[in-house]
Symmetry: C2
Subunit: 215 residues, 2 copies
């Protein structure tokens, strides 16, 4: 298990602390407001103080962690100071930015990874709300997408072997959803039926090409 | 394409608006502060006014949308009023909550879906930071997981054909991450190298079994 330092026990910092503890990792949670530390006081190490003070951070034991999350929101100065202090200790720092310009500053201060929690959550919600078979193209890795295609057109009534999707389109069939059953792992002899949802893996172009054939 | 109403053009609301527009959907973005609407003014419909006023919302055209995101943060009263107004118009409402108790209130007011952006982002970051072959098991479909395994042990130096993972363990190799290259699609002759991260699909038991062999 890892030990992660978190500076700032707001909703974001506390959310991270809870998930880390749930997965068996150790957390050092720091905040200047004792009340914010209260919810996690029985599950992780806590320290009350000002993260702009590098002596306080050192006494709290921040140097022994594997990585630090600077989760301070509104007070940009405190976020910048906490980031610099942790970088000077040679730590890996993930810092939350309030806006793009703050993010640039954190980059220049040496933050290893900058996150924009509110913006990112907005983006994810937009994807959730507009889920449909084409738009459901989830990017699993760079340029490798997963997509559900409603079986229609040429796909229906043929075996996976007969359809030969890997060679014709460069896509892989991951599984087939039929009613509330999941067919996994798939085999060459499986026959695609009308109403099936076929889950595919491939580049976005190749998935679009298969979606056209399935209409 | 869908039409989504967004009330509150903060970071969360604007993040959602940008992603919707990027995917070809239509957005009606509402805020009481004209400055907040400025960044999106050329990409979507905007309306300036107080969302607590149901007549203003009706005149802005909110009734014609497929769903509404109430993305008001600090002002809980405004968030509750905007939610009630939209529910009275019979709309599907996703509302952002500041804390768990606010979330309960939004539930009782009929919000169809309540999100906690800051908390959720903290949870996701915790997972990202502690990505190790076991923890990063993402459930793609019921009982079908995707997992990255750091290639070690018996996996190294063998071809995918030689490893025969589908028959031995019931798992499928989706792709191989080697440095900053992605090997996709994979072929039977591909040889697993030390340092590779192999991305697999399978049940959680079978993935755990492969992870043990890869240690
Ligand atoms: N200098 C500091 N030292 C330690 N803790 C600090 C410092 N400045 C702010 N904090 C703490 O950081 C926490 C998060 O900051 P803040 O509330 O400004 O961000 P937020 O963006 O509203 O948080 P969230 O969105 O995660 O709820 C607060 O609990 C605050 O007490
Ligand atoms: N009654 C209202 N009618 C319309 N817009 C409103 C109303 N009340 C607040 N807003 C707008 O909602 C937006 C988001 O609210 P606020 O800034 O409180 O949330 P936030 O949580 O800080 O936002 P984010 O985290 O998304 O940046 C602001 O741009 C604000 O002008």
């Amino acid at each position: 298990p890892k030990t992660i330092g978190i500076i700032g026990a707001g909703r974001f910092g506390t959310g991270a602390a809870q998930e880390l503890v749930r997965n068996g990792h150790h957390v050092l949670l720091i905040d200047q407001d004792a009340e914010c530390l209260e919810p996690m006081a029985h599950q992780c190490h806590t320290a009350i103080g000002n993260a702009e003070d590098s002596e306080f951070l050192a006494e709290a034991g921040i140097k022994d962690v594997d990585a630090v999350i600077v989760a301070i929101g509104d007070n940009e100065t405190a976020s910048n100071h906490a980031t610099i202090n942790c970088k000077d200790f040679g730590l890996y720092v993930v810092a939350k930015a309030t806006h793009a310009t703050h993010g640039k500053i954190l980059d220049r201060l040496g933050a290893d990874y900058v996150v924009y929690p509110e913006h990112d959550s907005g983006v994810r919600l937009a994807r959730l709300l507009t889920r449909s078979s084409i738009l459901e193209m989830i990017e699993l890795y760079e340029e490798v997408f997963m997509m559900e295609v409603n079986a229609g057109g040429e796909l229906v009534g043929k075996s996976l072997e007969g359809l030969n999707l890997p060679h014709r389109f460069g896509v892989q069939v991951l599984l087939i959803l039929r009613g509330n059953k999941t067919i996994f792992p798939v085999s060459a002899k499986d026959i695609v039926q009308d109403g099936d949802r076929v889950v595919l893996l491939g580049s976005s172009e190749s998935l679009h090409r298969v979606a056209k054939v399935a209409e």
